[in-house]
């Protein structure tokens, strides 16, 4: 699978790209939301792991931009956040956003969730 990881924390992106590569997936990671968005526009990813609380360009901005560009439905996004899930308010939850997972989480669980997206049509 082609996976994009967008998180401002370098340790997180490093961990996830190592892990997914270890599990045989193609993983691109970035610490900048805008970078992630342009990567997203140019390349088709099978899954996007997106952090919400990022400085300047937040995960919400990322999603809003995709909605604005009309490209949200093509995406399979997993929101990965340290915020309590009850506090995560994402409008238009069903357009391209498949899961919301709380940080920290089991890598095995995250992998299972990501791989399950492959099945989703």
């Amino acid at each position: 699978m082609k996976i994009l990881v967008v998180d401002d924390n370098n340790s997180v992106t490093e961990l996830l790209s190592q892990f997914f590569k270890l599990k045989g997936h193609d993983c691109i990671a970035t610490n900048d939301g805008k970078d992630g968005l342009s990567l997203c526009f140019n390349t088709k990813f099978d899954a996007i792991i997106l952090d919400l609380a990022m400085p300047e360009f937040t995960g919400k901005d990322f999603i809003d931009s995709l909605i604005k560009e009309g490209k949200i439905k093509n995406q399979k996004i997993i929101v990965l956040t340290a915020m309590p899930l009850g506090d995560v308010i994402i409008e238009d939850h069903y357009h391209g956003i498949c899961e919301a997972i709380q940080k920290p989480c089991d890598l095995a669980f995250l992998l299972k969730t990501v791989e399950s997206l492959d099945v989703v049509v």
Binding site: N9, S11, V12, L15, A82, P84, K103, P104, A108
Partner: protein, 516 residues
């Protein structure tokens, strides 16, 4: 009174007439004169009778009367003198002429007498309104004196009268009662003797102001009672003069404002409380924001720690690591997980406290759910050699937040494992239907909890002193969270425990049959 005087006048005149009648009996002239006099008297009496209603109040009457009497006396004296001279001169004239003259003189004298009498009557009558007015002013005077006395003496306000050197010369009942003295104890004392120690300067200033300006208005000064108690008052003073308009002291009115002061203090306290409340609310908001921030900030670095540990333990070949290193990594992983749980607990407790906990209620089979829990814990219990039992009833169905109930049971079971004996430990989990509630319980044969600490156990951050038992870690939030969740789900939580004989934690969740 007027009529009686007139009657007596008539009687006197009658008496005189009778004497004269004896002398000049049978004379026609005498008859005419008597008729004349009686007619005159009647006319005079009628006039008086008519004038009676307004006579009493006439202020001019005394003046007229005096003038009239002086005039009558002058006329009568002049008349008498001229008649005497006339009679002396007429001596040589005939006897008939002499007789006529004598009669004329008599008539004039009688007229003069009548005028004098009438004047006296006027005078007497004029005394009555004078006496009345005098009596009235006397009454008025004594009444106003009494009013003043009553006002001073019985007024609820505190009054005192002082001399120019500040000595109390009089005071009223209220003043004496409020300060707890008798009047005798007060009179002769200085005003400073009744002033609160802290306000001596203020009283001195007030006293000087009065002496300088002759007036003091609403000065707040604290007085001191006999028992040492102090009371806030408002003092107003004005000058007091003697009959020669010489300043002799001051009349002071003292308003006891203790109640107003208390009310003011209460309002001030209220305002302070409100301010504190606002501050507290602000602080709490800050605390909540801080908790959210700190937990978020703590969770973020935990993710790589836990993630790499998990990778090393579960996802990469462990061939490159020594068993010692693997043990170390496992230890890091275990403790990081513990830390993660505590952060999660803090967040949960905060949410429960703020009433922001969201419950996701679903219908589930409680019997199945309990078996599932039993199965999951069995390996751990076997490892610890604990007699682990599930005594739940069959066919229990519940509509509630399954995950939160699981969180409570996990917490209670893990708590129990910390307090049961190392060998022969026993933990029983159960769910039973009772009074439209499902009552869950976790029972152990641990060290038990002292009675005085049982209720405190459900408070946040409370830890039972475990110096006698095994050391139990944690942040003291577990049971507070369990209770918070139970209450949030409409149930309640309680415990039964005896020191040395184990503990049972119960919680009940409503069955909500109507939601089927």
């Amino acid at each position: 009174m007027l009529s009686s005087i007139l009657k007596s006048c008539t009687a006197t005149l009658g008496q005189r007439e009778k004497t004269k009648q004896k002398d000049k009996k049978g004379s026609d002239f005498e008859k005419k004169r008597r008729l004349h006099v009686s007619i005159l008297l009647k006319i005079t009496m009628n006039r008086f009778a008519k004038r009676l209603p307004w006579l009493d109040d006439m202020k001019i009457v005394p003046k007229i009367s005096i003038m009239f009497s002086v005039f009558s006396l002058v006329i009568s004296s002049v008349g008498y003198v001229s008649l005497n001279q006339l009679s002396n001169a007429a001596e040589p004239i005939t006897a008939d002429s002499e007789k006529l003259l004598t009669n004329t003189t008599h008539i004039i004298i009688i007229y003069v007498l009548i005028f004098t009498l009438v004047t006296i009557c006027f005078l007497v009558l004029s005394f009555k309104p004078m006496i009345n007015s005098l009596r009235k002013s006397q009454e008025l005077h004594s009444r106003s004196q009494k009013v003043y006395q009553d006002l001073y003496e019985n007024s609820p306000a505190l009054y005192r009268t002082i001399s120019t050197d500040g000595i109390i010369v009089n005071c009223n009942k209220s003043y004496a009662e409020r300060l707890g003295y008798t009047k005798e104890e007060i009179i002769g004392k200085s005003i400073f003797n009744h002033t609160a120690d802290n306000d001596i300067e203020a009283m001195r200033d007030s006293f000087e102001t009065w002496k300088r300006t002759g007036m003091v208005k609403n000065r707040e000064i604290w007085l001191k009672a006999k028992n040492g108690a102090i009371l806030p008052t408002l003092i107003s003073a004005s000058n007091l003069y003697d009959e020669n308009q010489r300043l002799i002291g001051s009349n002071t009115i003292i308003e006891d404002i203790s109640e107003i002061y208390e009310a003011r203090k209460k309002i001030e306290r209220q305002a302070i409380l409100e301010l504190q409340f606002t501050e507290l609310k602000k602080m709490e908001k800050l605390k909540d924001e801080f908790t959210s921030m700190i937990t978020h900030e703590l969770k973020t670095p935990l993710f790589p720690i836990l993630g790499y540990c998990e990778m090393l333990i579960k996802h990469v070949s462990s061939n490159n690591l020594t068993s010692e290193q693997q043990k170390m990594i496992k230890e890091i992983y275990k403790n990081s997980n513990k830390m993660h749980r505590r952060i999660r607990d803090l967040l949960t407790a905060q949410k429960l406290e703020m009433g922001r906990m969201k419950f996701d209620k679903i219908k589930f089979d409680v019997t199945e759910f309990m078996i599932e829990i039993y199965r999951e814990y069995l390996p751990l219990m076997q490892e610890k050699q604990v007699d682990f039992v599930n005594s739940s009833e069959e066919k229990l169905i519940l509509i509630s937040d399954k995950h939160r109930i699981r969180q409570i049971i996990d917490n209670l079971v893990l708590n129990s494992t910390d307090f049961i004996p190392v060998k022969q430990g026993r933990i029983e989990i159960s769910a039973r239907s009772k009074d439209e509630m499902i009552v869950f319980y976790v029972k152990d044969n641990g060290i038990g909890i002292p009675k005085d600490q049982q209720e405190l156990l459900f408070h946040k951050f409370y830890q039972v002193d475990t110096s006698l038992g095994r050391k139990h870690g944690g942040n003291g939030l577990g049971l507070a969270i369990c209770k918070g969740i139970t209450v949030g789900l409409g149930g309640r939580m309680w415990m039964e425990s005896e020191e040395g004989n184990g503990t049972t934690f119960y919680f009940s969740i409503p069955e909500s049959r109507n939601m089927d």
